[in-house]
Amino acid sequence: MEIKPFTGQPISVLAYDGSPVTNLDSLGISKDEYLSIYRWLVLARAVDDRGYILVRQGRAGFYAQIAGQEASQIGSALPLTKDDWLYGDHRSQGSMLVKGLRAAEWFAHVLGRSLDPSQGRLMPHGPGRNDLHIVPPSSTVGNQITEAVGTAMAQRIKKRKEITIVYFGDGATSEGDFHVGMNFAAVYGSPCIFFCQNNQYAISVRLQEQTHTKTIAEKAKAYGMDGFLVDGNDVLAVYAVSKHCADKARSGNGPSLIEAYTYRYGPHSSADDDTRYRPKGELEMWRNERDPVVRFRRFLEKQKLWNDDKEQKLLAEVKAELAVALEEAEKSPVPEPMTVLDHTYEKLTPHLEWERKELAAELGV
């Protein structure tokens, strides 16, 4: 399969009905790996469904669903190695799971419990895990882009065979950070993948009101970088393009921009009302005709790798696994109030020591 930048149509491997439109052998993916990819898709969706219910039940304050974007996230994270670095945004938990974040940790993050690697310090946008090289995102759109470039610059300075991937949405491409980050990475030939999940909405503003270019991928041209437009609901296409860009970066051939053309099913977040801005029928069309999980399942069925029995077995297995994960998260305590001052600096400053005494008096401890 030849992967070319700046195509007019999104690069795809599977048609909407799951039949291959390209030679599969060139992907170099084994049957077991196909099954593993499907498991990730199903797991990511199930984790997300479960997480969102926690908000509806009033047990969590916020949630940004990835539903509809699973193929973009799983397909782009699978080519990463353990040593590669991942900068997420508020909608990249699928990629974080592939990188090694445990579902129990994710639930603890949503609930604000101690098992959360970020100890409840962040709205549930994604916790960091240093050992997995997942950097926790802030809520400030686009900031992670220049940071990721700094990490990629450091990887090149240290001559390591590692890369950095950074996730952001279509809205973030309007931020200065996108321009600055793309420019820096191109100038230094940094081993970086700029992965744009174009779900067509920045909260409510549509892509046509966000940018005057037809695609986001073509913006790469202005930086002297390759830009790839890929069908973000086609996990094999996302995998193939991401692998191509990862190999390219790893072998010292610099950064790439990937635009994964996809669609989010949920509102921007649990605090949003998407009925105010979505045209009627649009969501249904994407859900019914282009769903990334169903599409890949159809592919597996066509390849005689999947059937209803296997599906039921997998769903039951994932459900049980997540029940255990949620229980583990819920058992984990809320962080101690006295820890609120910790980690502002490496050590408490004299002023924070004083505040610690004030807080202790307030809490009666």
Partner: protein, 333 residues
Amino acid sequence: MATAEVTKTQTQSTMVQALRSALLEEMERDENVVLLGEDIGPRGGVFLITEGLIDRFGKDRVIDTPLAEAGIIGAAVGMACYGLRPVAEIQFIDFIFPGFDLLVSEAAKMRYRSAGQFACPMVVRSPYGGGVRGGGYHSQSPEAYFVATPGLKVVAPSNPYDAKGLLIASIRDNDPVVFMEPKKIYRAVKNEVPAGTYEIPIGKAAITREGKHVSVITYGAMVHVALEAAEIMQKERVEVEILDLRTLQPYDSEAILETVGKTGHVVVLQEAPRIGGFAGEIAAFIAEEAIGYLEGPIVRVAGWDTPFPYALEKAYMPNAQRVCRAIKKSINF
């Protein structure tokens, strides 16, 4: 050894030389120390702080960047998370604001939001302050923004010896440091700077001049305005004590209490505008913790609450006369 002989030699240095020697020694000691900024390569920085360093350490460790402060600070954050110790130069602190978001939203909060898993051991060096006919965009003193951001440390040296020791301490510190260099005295003030490595601890103030009647609490280039005022007041038999804070966040509250306890009269001097300025924090701290020592009002001396002017900077900047008037207001209460 010959090198031991060299380290013992003390020479009169400018702050420019002192800062350069701090960078050079730290880069030799720790290969994770890298520099990045605009024009810091062959040009040596517009104030020549990094002169010659690219020849010694190469392009991978002395990185000339595109003209984008958000990129410089953002990249420094990503490098620091990875384990490097970047020292970023912002050409003038007036230009830091495109990178302000990266400093306050990212560098300052990375340790906290990751519950200590990630840190940003980075320094953002930048010349600040007036007196060089720089007008409104090459003269400002924006320390209050940084001091008001938990997670950042803020340092402002007043002389070459302190500048070197504080910069070395800032590079070795595991938290992000905004290192404000008083450009008016980059070359105007000299003192003895040892060739060897030494640290001046972050968070420790110093008594620049001892006195018993009134304390002037200040930092950076204003220390020299305070010294001038002290000479004038000496003729009127008023002995002025000058406390140079050196670090603004975390500031040395013990040293403040000590000098206030000694003199009972306080003037807080800063170059930045008065309203919402750092001097207000010091005044409030003294009012809360040392009201019993006070025999007169805490008086602030600051720049006017206007943007920084070009042609009229002498009328703008705090001077010795303004400090003397404040001292009299405090002691003649």
